[in-house]
C-alpha cells in the first residue's frame, strides 16, 4: 500500500464525489419549481407489490407542493423516532401512533381542524388512539385487524367445530397437532408479541381503563394467560418458523392448521386454499369473557419540525380526507385493509362476502385498539411477563402483579406530564 499515482488519482476522484454529493435531504428552505414547496413524506415498507408505486402516484398528482416519497425498509419506528429529533426528518410521515410521548413532547402537529365535518365518518375504534385530550394527532389511513385463520377441512376431518372459547381453542389445537404440522401458530415467540392485550380483552378486561388506571388487575387475567401456557406445554404451537405470524407462509405451507395473522394475509390464503378456510376472532376466555380482535391504524402525521406546516397539513388533508378515491385504492387494490372511512368500508365489494365479511363484522362487534396511554414502556413490561408465563411457566399471578406495578408507575408519569 504505497501511495502510488493510482491511489492518488482514486482519492482525488473520491474527494470530488464527496463534494459533489451535497446535502440532499429531500426538503428545502423555500419554494422552488412550479409546484410549490418541497415536502418529504415517509412510509414504512409495505410487503404488497404495487403499494409503493401507488403512493408515489398520489404524491405526483398533488399540484400544490412537490412531494417526494421515501420508502423505508426495516426498523421504521426507530428511524422516524431518530429523524424527528432533527431537521432532516420527514414533513409528513406515516406512524403507528403517534405515541403519547411524541404528542406531549410536541413532535407532531395538531390536526384536529382538518376533521371538520368528517370526523364521524372515521372508524371510531381506529380514531380513539389518535386522540388525546380531545385533539387529533394523525389521520387514520387504513384500518388493520388481526384474526385467527383456520382450515375448514382439517377441522371437520378431526370432527371439530370452530372454537368459540379459549378452552376449546386449546383442545382443538392439541387435536390438530401432527408429526410434521402443528395445531396453531401465534408467532415464533409463542404469542406474546402478536397477541399483546388480546387475551385480556377476551377475558372481558382492558389494558387501561377509561379513567386512566390499569385495566387488568383481576384474577380473570391470570386465568386467560395461563391458557396460553397450556397451549405451549401441549406442544400444540408452531414455533421457529422462518417467517413470523404477520406472514401467512406458515399457514400456506401447511406447517400449521390454524394461524393468528392480519387481515392483510387474506388474499394469499385465499389463493392457496380457495374456500377451504375461515376466520375467527380470538375466542372468549372464562365466564365473563367475550371474543376480541385487535384493530389498529397507521396514521398520517405532520412533523412539528416541518418548515411548511400549512402546506404539509393541506397535503395530508388532500390525500387522507378529500381524495376518497385514493384512499379506496390504497386500502383495497394492493394489500387487504379496511378503509378508515366508514362510508368507504360500506361500499367496498371485496369486504362484503366470505371470510372478509366475517372479519369486518368482528372488527365492529369485537374490535379493540391499544389505548394511547398504553405506552411502549408498559408494553415491554407486559410483553416480557407474557413471554415468561408462556415459555418459562412463570406464575401468572405474580408476574401480572409486577406488571400492574410498573404500568401504574408509567401511567402516573404520563399523567403528571399532561397536567
Amino acid at each position: 500500500m504505497t501511495i502510488s499515482r493510482r491511489t492518488l488519482l482514486a482519492s482525488g476522484a473520491a474527494l470530488g464525489l464527496l463534494t459533489a454529493c451535497g446535502s440532499n435531504t429531500g426538503r428545502d428552505g423555500g419554494g422552488s419549481g412550479g409546484k410549490g414547496p418541497k415536502l418529504s413524506q415517509w412510509y414504512h415498507q409495505y410487503g404488497e407489490p404495487g403499494t409503493e408505486e401507488a403512493v408515489k402516484r398520489y404524491a405526483a398528482a398533488y399540484d400544490k407542493a412537490d412531494v417526494s416519497v421515501q420508502w423505508r425498509p426495516g426498523n421504521y419506528d426507530e428511524q422516524t423516532a431518530a429523524a424527528l429529533l432533527t431537521e432532516s426528518g420527514p414533513d409528513v410521515f406515516e406512524v403507528n401512533g403517534p405515541t403519547l410521548d411524541q404528542i406531549q413532547g410536541g413532535q407532531v402537529v395538531d390536526l384536529t381542524d382538518l376533521f371538520d365535518g368528517v370526523k364521524d365518518d372515521f372508524n371510531p375504534v381506529a380514531l380513539a388512539p389518535k386522540t388525546h385530550d380531545g385533539r387529533i394527532w394523525s389521520i387514520p389511513q387504513v384500518v388493520d385487524m388481526q384474526v385467527l385463520y383456520y382450515r375448514k377441512s382439517l377441522l371437520s376431518d378431526a370432527g371439530r367445530r370452530p372454537p368459540t372459547t379459549l378452552d376449546e381453542l386449546v383442545d382443538t389445537a392439541k387435536e390438530l397437532t401432527r408429526d410434521k404440522a402443528k395445531g396453531l401458530f401465534l408467532g415464533n415467540d409463542g404469542g406474546a408479541g402478536a397477541l399483546g392485550g388480546t387475551p385480556l380483552y377476551a377475558a372481558g378486561l382492558t389494558l387501561v381503563t377509561d379513567d386512566g388506571r390499569v385495566g387488568f388487575d383481576d384474577p380473570a387475567a391470570a386465568r386467560a394467560l395461563a391458557a396460553l401456557r397450556t397451549l405451549y406445554e401441549d406442544k400444540s404451537l408452531l414455533l421457529g418458523a422462518p417467517s413470523d405470524w404477520s406472514d401467512p407462509s406458515a399457514f400456506v405451507q401447511e406447517l400449521t392448521a390454524m394461524q393468528w395473522s392480519g387481515l392483510w394475509a387474506l388474499p394469499a390464503v385465499r389463493k392457496a386454499f380457495g374456500d377451504d378456510f375461515g376466520v375467527l376472532p380470538f375466542p372468549a376466555a372464562g365466564s365473563g369473557g367475550k371474543p376480541s380482535v385487535p384493530v389498529g391504524a397507521y396514521g398520517a402525521a405532520v412533523s412539528a419540525r416541518t418548515r411548511h406546516k400549512k402546506e404539509a397539513k393541506d397535503f395530508v388533508k388532500w390525500l387522507w380526507i378529500d381524495r376518497t378515491d385514493h384512499q379506496r385504492d390504497f386500502a383495497l387494490s394492493y394489500g387487504f385493509h379496511i378503509p378508515a372511512r366508514l362510508s368507504l368500508a360500506k361500499k367496498a365489494d371485496a369486504l362484503t362476502e366470505g371470510a372478509a365479511a366475517d372479519a369486518v363484522r368482528y372488527s365492529t362487534e369485537h374490535g379493540y385498539a391499544e389505548p394511547l396511554l398504553w405506552t411502549p414502556a408498559s408494553r415491554v413490561a407486559y410483553q416480557d411477563a407474557l413471554s415468561r408465563i408462556i415459555k418459562s411457566g412463570a406464575n401468572p399471578e405474580s408476574e401480572l402483579k409486577s406488571v400492574v406495578r410498573k404500568v401504574s408507575a408509567e401511567l402516573e408519569r404520563v399523567k403528571k406530564k399532561s397536567s
Binding site: M1, T2, I3, T7, A10, S11, A14, L17, L18, C21, G22, S23, N24, T25, G26, Q45, Y46, G47, E48, P49, E52, Q70, W71, R72, P73, G74, N75, E78, Q79, A82, A83, L85, T86, E87, S88, K180, P242, S243, S246, D247, P248, S249, Q253, G262, W264, A268, G335
Partner: protein, 277 residues
C-alpha cells in the same frame, strides 16, 4: 511404537480438521442451495441435497426487481467501503506513527484517551451522533455515511503497536539523509509497512461493508442505500420470499470473499509483524 502413535495422532488430526472444515462450509452450502432453488424446493417436507434444476434466473430477478436497487446498493457499498478504508488507513496510521515515534510529553495521555473510546459501545452515542451529523446537513450524503466512521481507535492502536516494533535503523538512516518526520514517514515507513496496511485495511473494509444501523439511519434516500440496507428490505417486508432473500445474501458477500481471498496472505504477514499481538 512411538512412530505408530505419531501416525495415529496425525490421522486423527487430519480427520478432525476435515470434519471441522466441512462444518464451516455448511452455511455457504445453504446460501447457495437456497439461493438457487425455487421457493417450493426450499420449503419441501423432504430435504433435497441440491435443487434438481438450478434457478440462475433468481440472480437476474434480483437485479431486475424495481423496488430494491440492488446494483446501486452494491455500488454505494463499494464506494463507501473503499473510501472508508483509505481514509481510516491514512488518519489512523499517521496518528499511530506520531504516538509511537514522535517524543511529546503528553503522548501517553493522548494515547489512553484514544484507547478509551474503544470501550464505549457505539450504540451508547448513537442518537447524539445522529443528531450531530444531521445538524451538519449530512443526512443522505456520502460525507455523512463515511466521515463519522473514519476515526477508528482500534486501527490507531494497531498502527501504534506496529510502529513501536518498526526497525529504528531504517528511520535513523533517513534522518542522516536529512529527512524530517513527514518525509521519513512517507518515503521510508509507509513503503516498508505494506502488510500492516493490508491487515488493518481488510478489517476496516469488512466492517464498512457490513455495517448496518448507521447507513440505515443516515442513508435516507433510496439512492443512498447500501447492500445491507437493501438486504434488510427483503427480510422486513410482510411477505418473505426465501429464495430471494438467500440469493441477495449470497450476492452481498461475493465482493468481500474476493477481497478476502486476494488479501489473505497479506493479512497473515501483516498480523505476524504488527502489534495486534
Amino acid at each position: 511404537m512411538y512412530d505408530a502413535w505419531v501416525k495415529v495422532g496425525r490421522a486423527l488430526r487430519v480427520t478432525l480438521l476435515i470434519a471441522l472444515a466441512l462444518l464451516f462450509l455448511i452455511p455457504f452450502y445453504l446460501l447457495l442451495r437456497n439461493g438457487l432453488a425455487a421457493e417450493q424446493d426450499i420449503t419441501a417436507p423432504d430435504w433435497t441435497f441440491f435443487p434438481s434444476t438450478l434457478h440462475w434466473s433468481n440472480i437476474t430477478e434480483l437485479f431486475e426487481d424495481s423496488t430494491v436497487p440492488m446494483a446501486r446498493a452494491l455500488y454505494n457499498s463499494a464506494v463507501i467501503a473503499v473510501l472508508t478504508t483509505l481514509g481510516t488507513l491514512l488518519l489512523a496510521s499517521l496518528a499511530g506513527y506520531g504516538l509511537a515515534r514522535i517524543p511529546y510529553r503528553h503522548a501517553d495521555r493522548v494515547f489512553y484517551a484514544i484507547l478509551a473510546t474503544m470501550m464505549v459501545p457505539a450504540a451508547v452515542t448513537f442518537v447524539p451522533s445522529f443528531v450531530l451529523v444531521s445538524s451538519l446537513g449530512w443526512v443522505s450524503t456520502l460525507r455523512g455515511l463515511i466521515v463519522p466512521t473514519l476515526f477508528s481507535a482500534f486501527a490507531c492502536f494497531v498502527f501504534r503497536q506496529y510502529f513501536l516494533g518498526f526497525p529504528r535503523e531504517l528511520e535513523d538512516a533517513a534522518r542522516v539523509d536529512g529527512l524530517g518526520y513527514w518525509r521519513t514517514y512517507w518515503l521510508v515507513v509507509v513503503p516498508n509497512s505494506r502488510p500492516a496496511f493490508a491487515a488493518v485495511g481488510t478489517i476496516v473494509f469488512i466492517g464498512a461493508w457490513n455495517s448496518f444501523l448507521w447507513p440505515l439511519v443516515i442513508g435516507q434516500d433510496r439512492d443512498a442505500w447500501t447492500v445491507q440496507v437493501a438486504l434488510a428490505s427483503f427480510s422486513t417486508s410482510q411477505v418473505i420470499r426465501l429464495h430471494q432473500l438467500f440469493v441477495a445474501a449470497a450476492v452481498s458477500i461475493v465482493p468481500l470473499l474476493v477481497v478476502f481471498l486476494f488479501f489473505q496472505r497479506w493479512i497473515v504477514a501483516g498480523v505476524e509483524r504488527s502489534g495486534i499481538d
